[in-house]
Symmetry: C2
Subunit: 415 residues, 2 copies
């Protein structure tokens, strides 16, 4: 894409009133725009990142058998009265259509459970794994942390349905692996801990995925023995690590990037979601639910990967693979144009800074936007028949012959 | 995909209380589920169709320079007060977060205009084309027509920004061509008419795209001379065809599948969206807006393409390319399994009915779901080392040698 026609532009200053680095950087670099507290627009660059994250999550959900659907955001009040959460959940947005009342879905257990009830009759219909990537709404009080906490936010929610607890346990472990694959591809796996959190009626613990980050609003205690963690909420109730019994912990600030929950019969009981088992008796379906916020994941990546100059996108979630820049006169620009078209032909994702700006301005924008590779064309590089690659992460510079530039990029991304 | 694990199932009966064929068929065939009047869940099959429609629209929007973003559904009341539509638009859902009031976005002019204002300064920043594919909310009174009219619905909305009326006029024509390409790929172009509708302050007419259909809620008058149409609303004000001056019309029932509007300065004035022109003066930006409802398009396709037995999907929007069915015992199934795996390797999209059901049930489901090609494996076809293809649309049957099946499918879809 040509930067000259890119509708969002970088700003010289950080936005006022934003305290979190993800909001500061993403707004200044032109990835998002704030409409209201906790409500953001994804601009073209931000939308590209969002689509990359969506793709990763979708692929990993499909690998563990997830079938994708799309449920509505408008939920009839009746559904939420069945579980008592119409009154219980304080953050539900409520509205009226004539005499009928609706909730704006903060989550979808109240919708998926009666939906699945229409199709599940026997043990043969189980297990079942259903997910969606969909807009959620929560009337949050504190919404000052950019994309980390929103009143409106995109979420992947997966729901699983099982004939037995053992089958739920087995799938729960598969989801944990899938989540770590997602965090690995997004770039934050090394800083992300499987964390014990409070459970419910049907299981002693639930799990969160917490990413270590100084700006995080959560606190976790990482077991020095097994590297799993306990969240602050349950720290007092748990003497030793529930995983390995170790009792030496390190306290860290963190961001919750995912949570998973064994619901058991919590929702199948009120909605009477049963199945006919092999032995001829009716039993309640065992359920699990598994969430990841896409915007929050994007915000977390920025909190973890940035420096003074801007964002440092991990390879797989960067809006583009290469930021092509030219510095020089007409002849240099002509060669850049040619290179741009060649890269596009090779299906390499390029942001091409074709603007007539000073080299300084271009370099500043480039560091701010944070694409992993900068490809510079200048009189100096052309004298050696080369382009210059600079890795955003390390600052490492390498001159590469023009005709080998494509291969250099492909190799970089294949690593 | 294996039909045995497909979570949605076909139903024996049409749903009660649905009067429109799109809702009847899509619910019975397991594409959608009704949560409340005008509020639907897209089940796995319906979600696949939705994604195909989304892909077509996205590609055609990108071809005419559209940059994709994602705006929120929660809109601050202030934005809507600027234009007076907070009171004016009766179908706005309204809600509160603390003392702050929000609209659930029924459209996004009130959001995109101030957003673009942040980035447009000079004529050099124009023109600009921005679109999104996003969930809209309207508190409609009449919501009995399935996917044709919803309280919550996915819409593609494109907004264009220009320095001059002439440039808006030029782009408006480009959008008309893009829309016809979309309708062609979706399969309904031949039945879809560019239709004059009432304009506004800034243009005499707007345009709708109306698809001929007996179940349509709209009425159009098609000019026998030029094949463009006039909608009922303006029929009395318009003596002859605004396009060719012809005055012989044919009355038809139709569904509105898209509309486009020259907004002119309607929104740039209240939001003071100006730019510095070449001559050094400030001028208001000229705007256009262009909508297509994705669900409505899906519903329209079903209204237009079905028969007594079920849906007849056009090639490019079918959830799968082939419906593979076997009739027979173990050996037949084994060969079907092999064929299924081979087709998948070739990246052919297959729904494979691997269930142990009677041939009759399988055939009924197959016709109901409406994938363009049925591929049957039976003892009879295997005796000739063949599979049998049946085209859903024509009922035409053809025996094809097993080893040539893949090529047959590819050729069918390349036509």
């Amino acid at each position: 894409m040509r930067q000259s026609i890119l509708f969002s532009k970088t700003q010289r200053e950080f936005p006022k009133r934003e305290t979190f680095i993800n909001a500061k950087l993403l707004i200044r670099a032109g990835f998002i725009d704030k409409l209201s507290a906790g409500i953001y627009t994804f601009l073209p660059l931000g939308f590209l990142v969002l689509k990359k994250i969506e793709k990763i999550i979708r692929e990993e959900m499909e690998k563990i058998g997830g079938q994708e659907i799309l449920m509505p955001a408008l939920h009839p009040k009746e559904n939420w009265e069945v579980t008592g959460r119409w009154e219980e959940m304080k953050e539900i947005f409520k509205l009226k259509a004539g005499k009928k009342e609706f909730a704006l879905g903060p989550t979808h257990e109240e919708i998926i459970t009666p939906l699945v009830k229409k199709f599940i009759k026997s043990y043969r219909d189980l297990p079942l794994y259903i997910f969606q990537i969909q807009d959620k709404f929560r009337n949050e009080k504190r919404v000052k942390s950019g994309l980390l906490r929103g009143r409106e936010f995109l979420m992947k929610d997966l729901y699983s349905f099982h004939a037995t607890k053992e089958d739920l346990d087995r799938y729960y472990q598969k989801v944990i692996s899938a989540y770590f694959r997602i965090f690995e591809r997004v770039g934050i796996k090394e800083k992300t801990y499987l964390t014990f959190a409070s459970g419910g009626t049907f299981s002693k613990f639930s799990h969160e995925f917490q990413t270590e980050c100084p700006a995080g609003e959560d606190t976790i205690f990482v077991c020095k023995n097994c590297n799993q963690a306990i969240n602050k909420e349950i720290k007092n109730d748990v003497k030793s690590c529930p995983n390995c019994n170790g009792n030496s912990f390190e306290k860290k600030k963190s961001i919750e990037v995912g949570n998973i929950f064994k619901l058991g019969e919590k929702f199948s009981r009120p909605f009477n979601l049963t199945f006919l088992d092999k032995d001829g008796t009716k039993k309640f379906v065992q359920m699990g639910c598994y969430g990841i916020g896409l915007g929050r994941l994007m915000g977390t990546v920025v909190e973890v990967f940035h420096d003074q100059k801007g964002i440092i996108w991990p390879k797989e979630v960067s809006p583009f693979q290469v930021h092509l820049i030219f510095v020089g006169k007409k002849e240099v620009k002509e060669i850049s144009e040619k290179l741009y078209n060649e890269l596009i032909k090779e299906k390499i994702e390029v942001l091409y800074d074709d603007r007539e700006k000073s080299p300084g301005e271009k370099f500043v924008d480039c560091d701010l936007i944070g694409i992993p590779l900068r490809m510079l064309v200048s009189e100096k590089t052309l004298r050696e028949n080369c382009v210059e690659f600079k890795e955003r992460k390390t600052g490492k510079i390498k001159l590469v012959k023009i005709q080998r530039a494509k291969d250099f990029i492909k190799k970089y991304y294949a690593q």
